[in-house]
């Protein structure tokens, strides 16, 4: 594979934090390793990508998708449909997903040859969620459990996630590898530069921009954006809350500020007041510049104050008031403790615990300040602790890095973390972190000593750390921490897994995958001529549908369009009713291409087109050509080759085509014959003609009677005065039916003391309107299987006068009901020779009549045959279908 195409999919790419950051780092690494990387998401911030980067943005959902469980559930399907549609023109070799809403897509992707990797960061606990959010989180867990077994590789970010979620959801450890995240990314954050350097991009885009463009409004926007980011003055959380009534739903707050807010003199964050700046510096208003822009371009270098307070107290001579303020606190002798991660009072983040711990620390060290990544006004603090807590909002990466370097201790009070980036970021910078002994903390903590089991212990250890009494071993391990989680290792390990999949020539061995099976029912569903084969097809239709390893789709060949189309209906009942054609109204045709692309979930194995009855050669060729063009494996069931091999029983037209038929049949990928004799015959033909046998061939012996119904095991009584005969035959066996009726006529005359009745079922398309026994011939045509069973149960024996079709089946059905059966001695029906049947030359009415007379007049003969019928081993439909399904699974 020269340049593999890797598509990275995540709900969003809007920040340099969390999963977004992880995936963007991976993208950069994949690109460096020579892959072509594209993205797919629901929303993204274009500043994170270079202009040349391909990003598929799926249509936005109306309203808040996380507030509505139905929308949430639909998002998975919509994402699958959307991405599959994109793949019609540009299909990736591998997708790497960050989670919802791409689980479903990842589970299906294997069926279209796309390999899949999931970076499993785990699903958060539901503690503290409201009803609607909780329902969504629960649904997310369900989706994970449904899809993870079918994703090629799942890479949990910690052993904690692996053992608590990944493996339980995936049900197997295969394809699972823990790959810890890195810790050294914050150092990429750049400090502010002098004005002369500000024109350059301050933070390198994720991808090098290889395209050059003329100066444009877009580039101006980009420059303003860079400056805004560089100075860290924009606080998106604060801005969204402060101006929530002015920001359109779904719009990025920063984009709103740059496009609208700045010109309307809105403040970018709590630390910069546009109005105050203009009031302090009238020349700025006169110049017509945006206040914040003036400050970063001129005011900063000119040491202009940003607020009246700052001007009066001269406390913030530089722009970075936060850092300056924190440094001042530290210089004043206060111990600074940072609460790692975002502040959430409820739920698993358990942030208020840090406040309680601070209270405990204060009992010993009064001058302690807890720094919280939240606006101070939003903190639910009681009066006694307010002076010990500072809200520091949402600092930039650079500010955060500086804060971590400044503080004496970090607390992580979360009760669940899949990895805990804030924790590792702090430790990487040498800052000790006390964390509760839960989640991934034992794996990522610098030393077990830093693990705490409750607030009291955390407060006690915090005092120990703040007083400089940290155990030397713990200190040494903290100092060595920077070697433990380098991103280079993380990315190299992920690449190993990705590369391993890309190098695989075939779809990986499925663990528990299903196969999409296109079942060609067209030839048989609307043509009941081949009763035996028809029954087999109906059995396949009825039972394969429920085979857990197969996802069955009914298709039929469209002669006009020369392609397969989807046969669909309200239900599939018609396809397994016996001996009946499907009503036209039942059928509607649907294009199959899209279906092929959006294969059923979890169908990782290559799809198969199955001909349940091998079509004749002229029909087979175009079907095969079409299937091959779609990359389908072709399989065919050959019911019996005898009709094509015996001149006496087939039309001259068919007979002449037999060799050609075999030759075409040999081109399928898999040939499943209904008997070993049939398989031998075809293979002998291949050898004789010097043709290659199909890569896969097998036989499934079958004599399937009434599946699901209890077999009759009681010997029937021989006929007495009343004799009931059941004649059965396939479509088009009019001559056979005629001979049978004549033979029974003769028999009635020959045995006048018996009351002989004849009932005919089947014989569709046969004109049998004639008198019989003083009335109309009881020809019932197509009957249900239950009716057929009843008729057989009522009859003394069955006669199948057909010279070719349906013998195996009828013989089996008859014996299933413990009734002897008469069949053609030179026809097919290998199974009928096992016992319970009489082989008769059905071409002769006389011979037929003699045989029936023997059965009626010779109770011993009848009893023997009946005994055999009861005892002969018979397989059922289920075993036949199981046999076929097994062969299909083996492909």
């Amino acid at each position: 594979m020269l340049t593999p195409h890797i598509q990275i999919l995540n709900e969003r790419f809007i920040s340099r934090y969390g999963v977004d950051r992880i995936l963007l780092l991976m993208a950069r690494h994949f690109t460096a390793m020579g892959a072509r990387v594209s993205f797919g998401c629901l929303r993204y911030n274009e500043e994170l990508f270079d202009k040349g980067t391909a990003v598929v943005k799926l249509p936005a959902f109306e309203g808040d998708i996380f507030a509505n469980i139905d929308k949430f559930m639909n998002a998975e399907k919509a994402a699958t449909d959307g991405m599959m549609a994109e793949w019609l023109t540009d299909k990736p070799d591998l997708i790497l997903i960050g989670g919802w809403p791409f689980f479903d897509l990842a589970a299906r992707a294997g069926s279209v040859g796309v390999r899949t990797v999931f970076i499993d960061a785990g699903a958060v606990p539901h503690t503290g969620y409201g009803d609607s959010s909780q329902a969504i989180q629960q649904e997310l867990r369900r989706i994970r459990a449904q899809t993870l077994p079918f994703i090629d590789k799942v890479l949990p970010i910690s052993d904690f996630i692996r053992f608590s979620q990944t493996e339980p959801d995936r049900c197997t450890p295969e394809g699972v590898r823990t790959i810890h995240l890195g810790a050294d990314h914050l150092r990429e954050a750049q400090p502010p530069k002098t004005e002369s350097k500000k024109a350059s991009s301050l933070q390198a885009p994720i991808f090098e921009n290889t395209t050059t463009g003329k100066q444009s409004a877009r580039e101006d926007y980009r420059r303003r954006l860079d400056l805004l980011n560089e100075f860290g003055m924009f606080d998106s959380i604060w801005y969204r809350k402060r101006y929530q009534d002015r920001i359109p739903a779904g719009q990025d707050p920063k984009a709103h500020f740059l496009n609208v807010g700045s010109y309307e003199l809105l403040d970018p964050g709590p630390s910069f007041s546009a109005a105050a700046y203009l009031q302090l510096h009238p020349d700025v208003a006169k110049a017509g510049m945006e206040p914040w822009f003036h400050y970063v371009v001129h005011g900063y270098a000119e040491e202009r104050a940003t607020s009246p307070v700052a001007a009066a107290e001269r406390r913030y001579p530089k722009f970075y008031p936060l850092l300056e303020r924190l440094k001042a606190l530290k210089q004043a002798g206060r111990k600074l403790v940072l609460l790692g991660g975002r502040f959430e009072a409820g739920g698993y983040k358990n942030s208020m615990s840090a406040v309680h711990v601070t209270r405990g620390i204060r009992d010993t060290i009064t001058k302690v300040t807890l720094l919280v990544l939240e606006q101070y006004d939003h903190l639910p603090l009681s009066d006694d602790i307010k002076k010990n807590v500072e809200g520091i909002g949402s600092p930039s990466d650079y500010e955060l890095l500086e804060i971590i370097r400044l503080v004496d201790l970090t607390l992580s009070t979360s009760l669940w973390e899949g990895f805990n980036l804030p924790l590792v970021e702090s430790q990487y910078e040498g800052c000790p972190v006390l964390a509760y002994a839960c989640g991934s903390h034992p794996e990522v903590i610098a030393d077990p000593w830093f693990l705490c089991q409750n607030e009291a212990e955390m407060a006690q250890k915090a005092v120990t750390v703040l007083k400089g009494n940290m155990p030397p071993i713990a200190r040494t391990n903290l100092e060595n921490y920077s070697h433990r989680f380098p991103w280079t290792k993380t990315l190299a390990e992920i690449w190993e897994e990705v590369d391993d999949l890309l190098r695989a020539h075939s779809v990986p061995e499925p663990r528990a995958s299903r196969r999409l099976l296109f079942l060609d029912v067209g030839a048989i569903a609307f043509n009941v001529a081949h009763a035996d084969a028809l029954q087999a097809v109906r059995a396949l239709c009825a039972n394969l549908l429920y085979d857990p390893a197969l996802e069955v789709v009914f298709t039929s060949w469209d002669e006009v369009q020369q392609c397969f189309t989807l046969v669909a209906g309200d239900d599939a009942a018609g396809l397994h009713s016996p001996l009946s054609a499907l009503p036209d109204t039942w059928v509607r045709r649907v294009g199959i291409d899209k279906l092929l692309m959006a294969a059923a979930q979890r169908c990782v194995l290559p799809p198969v087109l199955l001909f349940p009855v091998a079509p004749l050669s002229e029909a087979l060729a175009p079907r095969m050509a079409w299937a091959r063009s779609k990359g389908l494996t072709c399989a065919a069931v050959l019911h019996d080759p005898a009709s094509a091999n015996r001149r006496a029983y087939v039309s001259g037209n068919a007979y002449g085509k037999a060799p050609d038929y075999y030759s075409h049949l040999l081109t399928v990928d898999a040939l499943i014959c209904k008997s070993s004799a049939a398989l031998e015959m075809v293979l002998a033909h291949a050898e004789e003609k010097g043709l290659s046998a199909p890569p896969f061939s097998a036989s499934v012996e079958v004599s399937p009677p009434f599946g699901g119904q209890e077999r009759v095991r009681d010997d029937p009584e021989p006929p007495g005065d009343e004799v009931r005969i059941l004649g059965v035959g396939a479509k088009g066996s009019a001559e056979g039916a005629e001979r049978l009726v004549n033979a029974v006529d003769q028999l009635r005359r020959r045995l006048p003391h018996r009351r002989i009745t004849l009932t005919l079922v089947g014989f569709d398309d046969c004109d049998l309107n004639r008198d019989f026994d003083g009335g109309a011939l009881p020809h019932l045509g197509t009957v249900s299987r239950a009716q057929l069973q009843d008729f057989l149960g009522a009859a003394h024996f069955a006669v199948c006068p057909s010279l070719q079709g349906g013998i195996d089946l009828f013989a089996a059905e008859s014996r299933w009901m413990a009734r002897p059966c008469l069949f053609h001695s030179e026809g097919r029906g290998d199974g009928a020779y096992d016992g319970g049947c009489l082989a008769v030359d059905m071409r002769s009415e006389r011979v037929m009549g003699n045989a029936m007379a023997d059965l009626i007049e010779e109770p011993m003969l009848y009893r023997r045959l009946a005994r055999e019928a009861v005892s002969v081993p018979l397989s059922d439909w289920a075993s036949f279908v199981d046999g076929v399904a097994e062969k299909l699974r083996e492909l």
Partner: protein, 550 residues
């Protein structure tokens, strides 16, 4: 460094209860001297409940020692310790040891072995007592009689143990769980053949290699005892029932009652324990013959040993390889010990000392009287023991340990057969079935593991899942169905509904249940169903709530 070893032991000097921690400490120290990188994760008896879970770390002779306070006396908590699990996980990630060597785990919990196994590190285990097959660890029943059938725990001792979620789980399941955890070790070492054999007899299927814990000869002052008019006896022991202290006290009274022996013997008892009042009373009664020192530093104990002519151990439980007897050997003292457990392996023969019937004060008194009346025999025993102790030199033990750490890990023997079970508090019928199953099966053939305790390794190895609840629903069976495991559920309306859609076996009575269990575990491991069950289970997967524990 030659390799990294993480040693895990429930106690470690200076916090000691018995001899096992001395062994762990000695081995850690010697291995470090030989160039191994050693880290120790140890426990410590918590001062009170608020102290449980507290972790300290210190550098002890260049070895980092992490000490976790634990509730070692609580039999419901001392075999599973979530906090210890977290600490071990952290150490495995931090130190990346080549081997984890476990010693006694009471208090720290046995799940540690499964965690180490899951982590992929090699595991050695030294057995020190019967805790792997007897939750009391000493094979003595509540009435202090010797247990000869570990299936009788529920009758002779405690019937149930309270699980974390409040369920009262039959004690047999705790026993099976602990035994299964210990069987996760790649190499299992028993200091005595006696203990190894007993584990086998009690159903432990894993191979156990006997090898002495050894003794530090240099640390024990040795001298050859010469015949004296007054024989000095000494015993260093925990002052508890299982150590035979009551029998010892009775024996001393018997001796004291013999006027002709007056002034010809003296007995010193060292140690502490919960029946100290018994020995304190004796000390008041026999002030000139008997002295009770209580707990003393080891150096003082060794001083007393050096003064003694003979060391007495009156234990009524089958001790493994008592350190006190090894020390006696090394010091050149004669030995009197009960004929039980690993004691005979140390005493060896009459040349070394005298063995007497356990629980028999008269026999113990007779043995002491024999030495008092024939002090010259002490001289012979002393010489003999000083020669013989060389075979217990701990340098040889450390040689052996190094050979263990350097040898390839043996192929995992056939894993123990496991049936994971659950269904809430078992009712009378289920308890009866558990018993019936235990008595029905071959000893050691199959382990029953409580589902809440079974970690992923156990689920991976399990042969089947038994749900004894009076009713059942798909989600209760999902962990098993999703793994393709055979499932057996009790006859109920829910079970009848499930049977139509899921491959579950319903049992109605003891016979049908045992038939299922037999079929499951009598042959080779049942092939796990994969596709159909998996599909069923994923289809059935409900929206699951997932909450932090309160």
């Amino acid at each position: 460094m030659r390799g990294k070893i993480l040693i895990v032991t429930n106690y470690y000097p200076p916090f000691m209860v018995g001899g096992a921690e001395v062994v762990a400490h000695r081995q850690a120290t010697m291995l470090r001297k030989r160039g191994w990188d050693i880290c120790v994760f140890a426990g410590r008896a918590a001062d009170d409940w608020s102290d449980v879970g507290k972790l300290d770390v210190e550098d002890q002779d260049g070895i980092p020692v992490y000490r976790l306070s634990h509730a070692w006396m609580d039999m419901g908590r001392n075999f599973r310790n979530q906090f210890a699990n977290q600490i071990l996980t952290s150490l495995l990630h931090l130190y990346k040891p080549d081997w984890v060597h476990f010693h006694n785990l009471i208090g720290l919990g046995t799940e540690l072995t499964a965690i180490a196994r899951r982590h992929g590190v090699k595991i050695a285990l030294t057995l020190h007592d019967y805790w792997g097959v007897c939750y009391r660890g000493i094979l003595l029943r509540r009435d202090w009689s010797l247990c000869d059938d570990s299936e009788m725990c529920g009758y002779a001792c405690d019937a149930t143990v309270r699980a974390e979620n409040g369920f009262d789980v039959p004690i047999r399941l705790r026993r099976d769980y602990v035994a299964w955890c210990l069987s996760q070790a790649d190499r299992i070492i028993s200091p005595s053949r006696s203990l190894a054999n007993d584990y086998k007899k009690l159903g432990f299927t894993k191979e156990i290699e006997p090898f002495t814990n050894g003794i530090d000869l240099a640390a024990i002052p040795a001298r050859t005892r010469s015949p004296k008019a007054k024989v000095r006896f000494m015993c260093a022991s925990y002052i508890g029932e299982h150590k035979g202290i009551r029998q010892l006290v009775d024996a001393l009274r018997i001796l004291a009652a013999k006027p002709d022996l007056k002034g010809r013997w003296h007995f010193t008892l060292v140690g502490g324990g919960y029946i100290e009042e018994v020995v304190l009373a004796l000390a008041e009664e026999l002030p000139s013959e008997f002295k009770f020192l209580g707990r003393v530093p080891r150096s003082r104990s060794l001083e007393e040993l050096n003064k003694a002519d003979a060391v007495v151990l009156a234990s009524i439980w089958p001790e493994n390889e008592p350190v006190t007897l090894l020390e006696a050997l090394a010091s050149g003292a004669a030995i009197i010990a009960t004929d039980l457990g690993g004691n005979p392996e140390i005493v060896g023969g009459e040349e070394a000392g005298l063995l007497c019937r356990p629980r028999d004060a008269q026999a113990l008194a007779d043995a002491m009287e024999q030495l008092i009346r024939s002090p010259e025999t002490i001289h012979g025993m002393s010489e003999w023991n000083q020669q013989r102790v060389k075979s217990f030199d701990e340098e040889k033990t450390v040689d052996f340990l190094e050979s263990v750490y350097q040898a390839p890990v043996p192929d995992a023997a056939a894993a123990e057969r496991i049936i994971i079970c659950g269904g809430g508090n078992p009712d009378a019928m289920s308890v009866q079935l558990i018993d019936a199953f235990a008595f029905h099966r071959e000893k050691g053939g199959v382990r029953l593991l409580w589902h809440d305790w079974a970690g992923d390794k156990a689920w991976e190895q399990a042969d089947g899942f038994w749900w004894w609840g009076e009713d059942c629903s798909p989600d209760q069976l999902l962990p098993a169905l999703a793994r393709g495991m055979p499932v057996c559920v009790r006859k109920s309306p829910g079970a009848d509904r499930l049977e139509k859609h899921l491959p579950v076996t319903i049992y109605r009575d003891e016979r049908s249940f045992l038939a299922w269990a037999d079929g499951l575990t009598s042959g080779p491991a049942t092939a796990k169903a994969d596709v159909p069950l998996l599909r069923h289970s994923t289809r059935l997967r409900p929206r699951a709530g997932f909450y932090l524990p309160c």
